[in-house]
Structure formats: C-alpha cells, structure tokens
Symmetry: C2
Amino acid sequence: MSAQTHREPEGSLLIAWQLKGKNVLIVGGGEVASGRIQHVLDAGAAITLVSPADGLHTLTKSFIESSDRITYHDREFNPSDLDGVDMVLTAIDDVVVSRDIGIRSRTLRIPVNVADDPSYCDFYFGSQIRRGPLQIMVSTNGKGPKLASLIRQRIEEAVPQGAGEAIEKVGLLRERLKERAPGVGGGIGRRRMQWMINLCTTWEMDDLARLDDEQMERMLVEGWEKNIVLSPEEVRVHGSRVRSVENN
Amino acid sequence: MSAQTHREPEGSLLIAWQLKGKNVLIVGGGEVASGRIQHVLDAGAAITLVSPADGLHTLTKSFIESSDRITYHDREFNPSDLDGVDMVLTAIDDVVVSRDIGIRSRTLRIPVNVADDPSYCDFYFGSQIRRGPLQIMVSTNGKGPKLASLIRQRIEEAVPQGAGEAIEKVGLLRERLKERAPGVGGGIGRRRMQWMINLCTTWEMDDLARLDDEQMERMLVEGWEKNIVLSPEEVRVHGSRVRSVENN
C-alpha cells in the first residue's frame, strides 16, 4: 500500500545541524550518552554533562578526562541547567524526569532528543559514518535500528577509501580557484562550478585524494586558464618532468 | 594534518528532524525551493509558501496544485509570516532579505536554513536517498556537493533493492512481537531485542522484504515461542505444507 501512494509522509527531514561554538546539555552518562557525547564533540560544540558519577560509562569517563569542551556536574538534573543551552539530549532511565526535561526544553524552544521516547523528541539520531568532512546517516525512522546498522556496513564498503580525503582536496582546490577567479554568481560562478563538476566526474576519487599542493597549482595554471581539466596522468607526468628538470 | 588529530570538529550533527503535523515556512519558489518542498512534504509537515507567482518553478507549481498541505501566497515575505511557524527555509536571490529572515528566525528561536548562506543557517541539507522508511543523507559539510552526489549514487547501488520493504516488514513484525510478548525493559525487552537481531543478521534483506502476514505469524508461533529464528526456507516450505493440507 505505502509503496503505491505518491508521497509517504512517514519520514523525517534529514539535516546536518550546525553546532560549532554552541552549548549542548547532555543529561545522563551511560552507554547511550557516551555515543551522544562523541557526535556532539565531533560537531564542535561545548558540552555540559549532568550525571551522578556512579552512572558513568567507561567511555563517558574517558571523554570527561580527555576533552576540554566538557563541563561535568556530578549530580541529578536541575531545571536551571537549561539556561543558555542550544540543544538538549537526555539518556537516562527515569521516564518521568526525562519527559519533564523534554517538555521544559520545548517550552523554551530548545531542540531536544529524549532517548527511547520518540514523542518527546524534536529529532532522532541514525546510524552514522564519518570520514573527515564526509558524513553519512542512515535512518529507518525507528523501524529497524539493526537493519540500519547492517545497511551502514554495506555503505562503508561501497564508499571509496579515499572519499574523505578527496572531498578535503576538492574543497581546497575550490577555495584556491575562487581566489584566482573571484566573483559571486553570474558567468564566473557558473564557469567555476562547471569546471569543478568536470573535474569531479572525470577523476576517480582515489586520484583526487592524492592531489598535492603543487599539482593543484598546475591544474589551475595549465587547466583552468585554458578552460580544460587535466587528467591525473597529465598532472602527474608533467609533475615528474618538472622535477627532473629542477634536479639537473 | 586533520587526519592525524584525534577529533575533527569541522563536522555537523546529522539528525532526523520530526515534522509531522508541524508548520514550515518556505520563502521562494524557484528550483531550490521546489527541492525543499518535496523534502518537507515527505516529512509530513504543512507548508506556507511565500513567493511572487512569476518566480515559481514548474515543479513548485505542480506541488501547489497537487498538495493540500501547501498554503500559497503570491507575494514577497512579510515578518508576520513567521507567526506560529516551526521551521523556516529561504531560497531567494535577495541576500539582504534572506539574511533578515535568518536573523528574525534566530531571534524567535525558529530553526532556519538560508540557502547559499551558511553562516545564517542552523542546519544544512545534504544529498538524500529515500526508499520507504529508509532514509540516507550524504553531507560533505559544504566542501564537495558534486562529490556528495557521486557518493550518493554509489550508495544507491550498494543498498539492497528490498531494503525499504525489509525495514517495513521488520517494523511490523516487531510490533506484533510486542503485542504477543508485552512489557518494557528488563528480561523480556532484552529477549525481544536479541530475537530481532538474530532475525536481521541471519536473513537476507530480500527475504525479509518478501515476508507476508501468514509467514510472520508462523515465525512468532513456531519461532519466538521456542526461542528460535526460523530460516526463510523453513518459513516458506512449512507454508506450502500447511496450504496443501488445507487444500485436501
């Protein structure tokens, strides 16, 4: 039935939330909380962690010890913990307390996730992959967490090894291109975009991942200026020629 | 350098935002806006769309005509459009107006995305896959949109055809299991979870996708009750036996 309807509104809106320099309150310190801590640290936020010390998971302890972005309080949740907070994540066993935190957060319009209690959540987490700037999330909208994790494994095998590094290099090259050929929108913007697309579609990801500083310069000087995309072979062969001349 | 540091804080927090029954304001009606409309409708929200009619993309027009969840206003943005709104997405060319919408939304603590203007965004979008309840997002944190789309294509090839249907069926089976063996947490919760994990790891996704109503019942009666997971062959062979007896 659902496969035949035009739209299936049972889904979520998948988004990449920006947390750099933000403050996240995490209530709870067990295994689930430790996973949340890792994701939030990876996203660049500061964390206020509230949990009695006897409930801390080993991983949570090591995060508290190793990160200077975690402020830890060895006690239960207190409503004033919500002051000045940009996001709230709870992962505690007490249903009454966690729902209370959920309701208070919503009243204050602070995005909130209450673990294991979907109706009190503004958002869910999914199964995740991270390779440098590349992030992938798999969500089954709560219907099959184990299958989500199996699908994540297949995706990890399918994504080229050099994908993260390739994205890093392409990002750098694009910045250098913008310096060389500045200007927003219009003809120059379109030409830059088309040149980057041609590069990304003709090069293998592993070749992009191996791009070095000197090769990027050559691609810009000898490629962009003539409005062509050099092949990996041209960039590398030429590179060794230049070097052998220098060596003589 | 970045590959050697322990944590890379340049990332985002990937989340599945819940929009069922929520109100989303979309300012703009061009191609980018039409993509936003599709994602938001898929997530179950109602949309208020504000854009002069002469700027509407063909896709946007068809969404306005076909969906009863879109309220369309043929005019420019007005600050009162933000009243009672749960999320704001802008996709217009006017930088001044879109930044103004971004700032107003933040002041009101309404999550906002301003297309092409990262510093005014609470969140970004990524390259997406949807198959029924399965949703996957690829984000390069703004560094390589073209590579994100190439990686999305590889993922689409790697995810088994029946994955969406398999998740749907596993979700149904889990609900029926909860009815048969109710109770929250503790021993029964762990036993249910372990049985579902055993099922998901021993069955191929395409076999899960083919599970029908009668077979689910058999898995519960003859599998769960004996604390075993029947194989696809056992479920199917047995099924034909039962049927042949009934036919006599």
